[in-house]
């Protein structure tokens, strides 16, 4: 299945009417002369919670960078109508900089300030406090960013992405290297933000997290992008074929999925 899901669910049918904030049309994604994903057709609508998944090096982050405008598609179109808030991977940030959580969040306002005619410092300070508060990090505002736990750091980065009040929240590997508690805290925060009306685009390779939280999943399968809900995408056959190892997918009663490699060589 290539491009948009051919048989949308009832929920998705209702979304068809909603506004398209991001759209990739016949886009070829890559960098320099290296093509990673071809013929990408993807529409992200207001209120979506979509996860882009795939093996390492498949082009997940490259798609994200196209959406963010940092890269351009090799061919085709990538159109973004909504405002974006971006939370990068924590490992990109050098701990030598002694920034406090508040200072890190305030960085998110620089884009607005660059275009604003007048900067209201009091309003900015209020916004920073509000963003920290919405991520449950207001009490940590004066703590050095590098001294926070992995989960706390990620929440600060989400607050930084939110401080400019964007329409779409874009998260790059938000739960990488987090323990279970950190993973839970971050993803529950993202879920809350989504429930409050934000559109969420997330890149991850942690499949059980994706299956639990994302409403739609865009899987990079070789050089094509397949978009569906978790039940359509995260099957043992498809994942086994994609990763080249036997994979088991267990579905619990509440719909959660446990995905693991199968040491006995069975594909179930």
């Amino acid at each position: 299945m290539s491009g948009e899901d051919a048989s949308p669910s009832t929920d998705e049918a209702s979304k068809v009417e909603s506004e398209v904030l991001i759209s990739l049309k016949n886009a070829e994604i890559g960098y320099k002369n290296l093509s990673l994903v071809k013929n990408v057709n993807l529409e992200i609508r207001r209120g979506d919670f979509i996860a882009i998944v795939g093996p390492n090096g498949s082009g997940k982050t490259t798609i994200l960078r196209n959406i963010l405008g940092v890269l351009k598609p090799l061919s085709g179109k990538c159109e973004v109508k909504g405002t974006l808030g971006y939370s990068p991977q924590r490992s990109q940030l050098d701990p030598i900089f002694p920034f406090t959580a508040e200072e890190v969040v305030a960085m998110g306002l620089l884009g607005l300030e660059e275009t604003a005619e007048e900067i209201d410092l009091a309003e900015n300070s209020k916004r920073v406090a509000g963003a920290l508060d919405s991520c449950g990090m207001l009490g940590f505002r004066d703590r050095l960013f590098r001294e926070l736990s992995g989960g706390q750091k990620q929440r600060v980065l989400v607050a930084r992405a939110l401080v400019s009040e964007p329409e779409v929240l874009i998260l790059d590997e938000p739960t990488n290297d987090l323990d279970l508690r950190g993973e839970h805290e971050v993803m529950e925060l993202v879920r809350t933000l989504h429930e409050e009306g934000r559109t969420v685009v997330m890149v991850s390779h942690i499949l059980h997290v994706v299956s639990r939280y994302a409403h739609r999943i865009a899987l990079i399968n070789g050089s094509e992008l397949i978009v569906d809900d978790a039940s359509g995408i995260l099957t043992s056959e498809r994942l086994g074929e994609l990763y080249g190892i036997p994979i088991s997918v267990f579905v619990a009663e509440d719909g959660r999925r446990l995905i693991s490699s199968n040491s006995e060589g069975e594909v179930r």
């Binding site: 971006y86 030598i96 002694p98 920034f99 620089l110 660059e114």
Partner: protein, 516 residues
């Protein structure tokens, strides 16, 4: 202490300029340290040094048009250093792709190229080489008023740029991709930041030298980061420690007659050591920070005291004569280095007061004043009545002869027989420094009829030590025809002596016959 302050007054304008450079470079150094591009700072400084060398090369190149050479002489050092470092800043922005070679390797390549070019370009220029030596060794020099104006203009311009764009520079350093996502012209900010570093380094280089510029870029930021909790604290501590160390360095250098730049650098490192030791206890770190702030306040108060404030009353009354560095009355920052050197030379050769002559000799020996132009006055002062002055002058000559071209200049003077006493002094200095050519010059002088008789008598006396007491029948007071045979014998002796007939006794600073 008052004597030290008095001497510091002498260098007032330069001391204040050093504080400006200290503040600016330590602030910018925080960016280089946190971005882990310290080596880029050094490469830019080396490029600025190569720019200075290029200006000397152009000024000396006869195949280049007169107007260009004149420009190079007047403004070449400033424009050359600024131009090359700015080009370097742009070039380092387009470094090769990370996967093919390490970015550090490219910076290293630029550094090696700039270092080699700097030396090669001035290798044949005596004044350029001295200037480059000062820049590389890191001597805090007195600079001309126009250069100080240029320096302060640059310091203020870079400071204003950073006041306006500090947060943008920080974001582009910390998270460049996020800056691009926000729509900031990240590339432009990166270039502006590196260009501001290049400008600061180029301006600071000629006033403070490579060593000090590099030390300011690295050591105070490390001190700030060691005990400053937040970036604001780290910045304040870094700038304060750079200023405090400058004061301590100047005072120690003047008190102990040490070169200023390395002394300031060592003071900075000592402060960093203190900061590192105290960083393990919050209370101690706070105390160290306050001590550093106190040293910075002392540095600022000293700057206020020693700065050559223009004397408005005198300047309004039209008192225009160039005066002493402090209160000269002309509104200029102070006399130039060459003016101060000339004043010291005049004191050395002309003052009837032995203490003044001694101070002048000491002053001309300090790294700030050391220049091969002092060789002639030193040679003249070798005949001073006072043994202490003679010793200082001889030591000064020894130091100057160690410079490239210093030895060559002594050789040239020793061959200029129109000034017999100076020529003899130069030949004697060469000989006591272990240079055989000094004896050769002396043998040649024996046959010169224009040489005063007394000088020839002295020559003979000196030559009798290496010849083992022989005079070959030479008589300074005899008829030239009678000496012809003796002079031929001396020349034969010299031909044999230069082929290994002599041994050098370093302790006695004399040549002796090989078999003695």
């Amino acid at each position: 202490m008052s004597e030290i302050l008095e001497t510091l007054e002498f260098f007032g304008a330069n001391y204040v300029a050093t504080l400006g450079i200290a503040m600016l470079c330590s602030y910018l150094g925080l960016f280089t340290v946190m971005r882990r591009i310290v080596f880029t700072g050094v490469a830019l400084a080396q490029l600025a040094a190569a720019g200075v060398a290029l200006s000397f090369f152009v000024a000396d190149a006869t195949w280049i048009g007169q107007s260009i050479r004149q420009f190079a002489k007047q403004y070449g050092a400033a424009t050359g250093s600024l131009g090359l470092s700015l080009l370097g800043a742009l070039g380092l922005q387009v470094r090769p792709h990370r996967n093919r070679s390490s970015p550090d390797a490219f910076v290293g390549l630029v550094y090696a190229l700039a270092s080699a070019a700097a030396i090669l370009l001035v290798w044949r220029s005596s004044s350029g080489l001295v200037e480059l030596r000062n820049i590389l060794a890191g001597d805090v020099l007195l600079t001309e008023t126009s250069e100080l104006f240029f320096l302060w203009f640059g310091i203020v311009a870079v400071a204003v740029l950073h006041m306006v764009y500090r947060r943008q520079f920080l974001l582009c350093s910390y998270d460049p991709e996020f800056a691009r996502v926000l729509g900031l012209p990240e590339r432009r900010y990166q270039i502006m930041l590196l260009a501001s570093l290049a400008v600061a380094v180029a301006l600071a280089l000629r006033a403070s030298g490579l060593l000090l510029v590099f030390a300011f870029l690295v050591v105070p930021p490390l001190t700030g980061l060691a005990i400053g909790r937040r970036l604001g604290d780290s910045t304040r501590i870094a700038m304060a420690s750079a200023m405090g160390s400058s004061l301590i360095g100047f005072v120690l250098a003047i008190g102990e007659n040490l070169p200023v730049a390395p002394t300031i650098a060592v003071s900075m490192i000592a402060m960093l050591g203190l900061a590192k030791l105290s960083s393990f206890r919050a209370g101690l770190a706070k105390l160290t920070a306050w001590l550093i702030y106190a040293s910075a306040i002392a540095a600022l108060v000293t700057a206020f005291l020693v700065f050559p404030w223009p004397n408005l009353d005198e300047s309004q009354a039209g008192a225009g004569a160039a005066g002493h560095a402090h209160g000269g009355g002309t509104g200029r920052a102070g006399p130039s280095l060459s003016e101060l050197r000339q004043a010291a030379v005049a004191e050395l050769v002309g003052s009837p007061d032995v203490e003044i002559r001694l101070k002048a000799a000491l002053k001309l020996r300090t790294p700030q004043f050391q220049e091969i132009g002092s060789i002639r006055p030193f040679l003249g002062a070798l005949q001073d009545d006072d043994a202490r002055v003679q010793t200082e002058v001889l030591l000064g000559l020894k130091e100057l002869s160690g410079l490239y071209r210093g030895r060559a200049m002594l050789q040239t003077i020793a061959a200029q027989y129109e000034e017999p006493e100076t020529a003899f002094a130069a030949a004697r200095v060469l000989a006591v420094l272990g240079d055989l050519e000094g004896l050769g010059h002396m043998v040649a002088m024996l046959g010169n009829e224009d040489f005063p008789l007394m000088s020839r008598e002295e020559l003979l006396e000196f030559l009798q030590t290496p010849s083992g007491g022989k005079d070959f029948g030479y008589d300074a007071f005899a008829d030239p025809d009678e000496n012809r045979k003796a002079i031929a014998a001396w020349k034969t002796w010299w031909d044999q002596a230069r082929k290994g007939g002599l041994r050098w006794d370093a302790a006695a600073a004399l040549f002796y016959p090989m078999n003695s």
